[in-house]
Symmetry: C2
Subunit: 361 residues, 2 copies
């Protein structure tokens, strides 16, 4: 609560600088809707949790206080993996998480968060907003009485933290690693044992050797969890999560109670946070990586080419199998696959060639 | 007007799909502010002009009709290159363009649109929103009574349309090419003659051989202008514009008249359009390129390595010189340069490595 008061005190100055998500007093607005937001992240966790807070504040600001949103971190109201059901039930009106956490509801949900060797952040936004992706996602969540909206992106993640070096495919055999979603399925096929744990359980599990390795997000978040204290080797690239979309899920009945301008405010606030989080990660990650390397003497490693090549082949298998499981998954996979093909052609002429001529050796 | 009526008729269905920028009736809102938007683009020109329309519609929708925005295409109210002065004067309350068009006001303005061998779209958003870039831009435009906001991004552009092949540096000598901003300065130093023309003048100039070559944006826009009818060779990558930020500029006095929630609505609508335009280009460009190559038999060419290498060296010179011209430019250049260095390090581990392992040969 104190934090809100502080932010309100900033006045319009920060708005002129485009801060937007904060700085507006709510004096004028009469509260019409009191919402609860449940999240899969620790309260105010950098990037993810603060992104959820920004979303709540932005909805309040844009609505002139007509909607108030109280944010609950993981385990404050419900455990992280109960967020989906809590919003579906209407105990909370909105949730913030990532779609691959809900593969138990539908395997196809994973396509809307991250696919190994799949789309980057820019490409995900293309597919979701203008390539038919969000329509499919909407159709899926509609079965549960929810409306999905992209609400954050991590960009290309890191490959994770390992207690031993990965020199060959042999080193993946028997590896017990926290890695959710489709990436976990790929690791399994490479002989490893994927484990799904919520973020706040990672450090202890890694330190206790309950797991041998974990991926989380990238330097900004990994530094915050202190993962460098529990593992020595930090691998790249994040082949399994090349542009993970975070999500807001909105209870359909609660949404239907809003006036049309308030409905637009909620959905567009999600869009603002979707972009803002990626921009923030793009700034904070390189700074955090510097700290990890220079202060904490972390050892940076690139996955060997043959390991990457094998993970790529296994990823194609896994994704194709998930995409063939039922009629709906087939439609999602077909849409995703065709978008990926065109994104690869276009990215080859633009992003990839450009970064090569700018930064290549 | 007919288009607005049509869009209004879509009702809430499209909102549930996240369309957001359209689809809300304004029945409830009482108009409090009538704004004019002037733009540097032909009315409804794909991506750029339609992006400006979306911005206007979104401001209306989010404000429940309290702000109404009438959009004027290039030459409807004023010529494209008078947009800046028109908004500064208050004849229009908001404008949509690109900052490098205003280098006559300040050379430093160019840093906020596109820098040769500079930042990609994702990196630009990082620098502007979380790396200090927008604060500097705000300080610059404040001198003219304007508030800037990023409001669109093209992504990595194409290198342009050429009447002859570019096989060596010699082929740039004497080349008369439409290329604005810093890219034009680089071409000049390579022996060419840069020309600045507004978009709607390009086709005629190229067809009449007033110019030998032109860059514009990418396949989606270049196809719309029919540039393939006037030149045969289509070059990549767009070394001169790797992630061009489009802008909204808002008259400070008009902004000050808005209530705090409406101020937040205007600035956040710009953020939504900033992301949406890039997503749209990411989808439309590869489709348009397919049409150009298969139907119009355009010949796709990559700039030779030694040409790129020379353009890169010249770009560094030009950007450093512009960045040393006065006290303000020095601050902008220092901020930009340090962000570019960190973006290169981070991009090398993430975007570049990832795209190489996903798409590389």
């Amino acid at each position: 609560m104190q934090r809100r008061t502080f932010i309100r005190g900033l006045g319009t100055g920060s708005l002129a600088l485009g801060a937007g998500a904060a700085g507006v007093s709510h004096a004028k607005g009469k509260t019409e809707h009191k919402w609860r937001m449940v999240t899969t992240w620790p309260k105010n966790f950098p990037g993810l949790g603060t992104g959820a807070e920004k979303l709540a504040e932005l909805i309040e600001t844009l609505s002139g206080g007509r909607i108030r949103v109280r944010v609950f971190g993981a385990n404050e109201l419900v455990p992280p993996f109960e967020v989906f059901d809590t919003v579906a039930r209407g105990t909370a009106q909105i949730g913030h998480g990532a779609a691959y956490y809900w593969k138990g509801k539908s395997e196809a949900a994973q396509f809307f968060s991250a696919v190994p060797f799949g789309l980057t952040a820019q490409e995900m936004n293309g597919w979701l907003y203008h390539g038919g992706g969000l329509e499919l996602w909407t159709e899926l969540y509609d079965r549960f009485g929810l409306i999905p909206a992209p609400a954050g992106n991590t960009g290309v993640q890191m490959g994770g933290w390992f207690n031993k070096e990965i020199d060959s495919l042999e080193d993946l055999k028997g590896l017990k690693m926290r890695i959710p979603g489709l990436g976990g399925e790929v690791l399994k096929r490479a002989g490893g044992t994927p484990v799904n744990l919520a973020g706040n359980e990672l450090f202890i599990a890694l330190q206790n050797n309950t797991i041998d390795a974990t991926e989380w997000v990238g330097p900004y978040n990994d530094l915050a969890f202190g993962l460098y204290k529990a593992a020595k080797y930090y691998y790249y690239p994040g082949w399994h999560e090349p542009g993970t979309t975070l999500e807001a899920m909105i209870n359909k009945d609660a949404f239907a109670e809003l006036s049309e301008d308030l409905q637009a405010i909620v959905l567009n606030a999600c869009k603002v946070v979707n972009q803002d989080m990626l921009a923030e990660y793009t700034v904070r990650n390189p700074n955090a990586l510097k700290t990890l390397l220079s202060e904490h003497k972390v050892e940076l490693r690139r996955f060997p080419d043959d390991v990457i090549e094998r993970l790529r082949a296994l990823s194609e298998e896994v994704v194709a199998e998930i995409g063939a499981r039922d009629a709906f998954s087939k439609r999602v996979y077909a849409s995703f696959r065709s978008f990926l093909e065109q994104a690869r052609r276009w990215g080859g002429l633009t992003e990839l060639t450009y970064l090569q001529v700018r930064d290549g050796t």
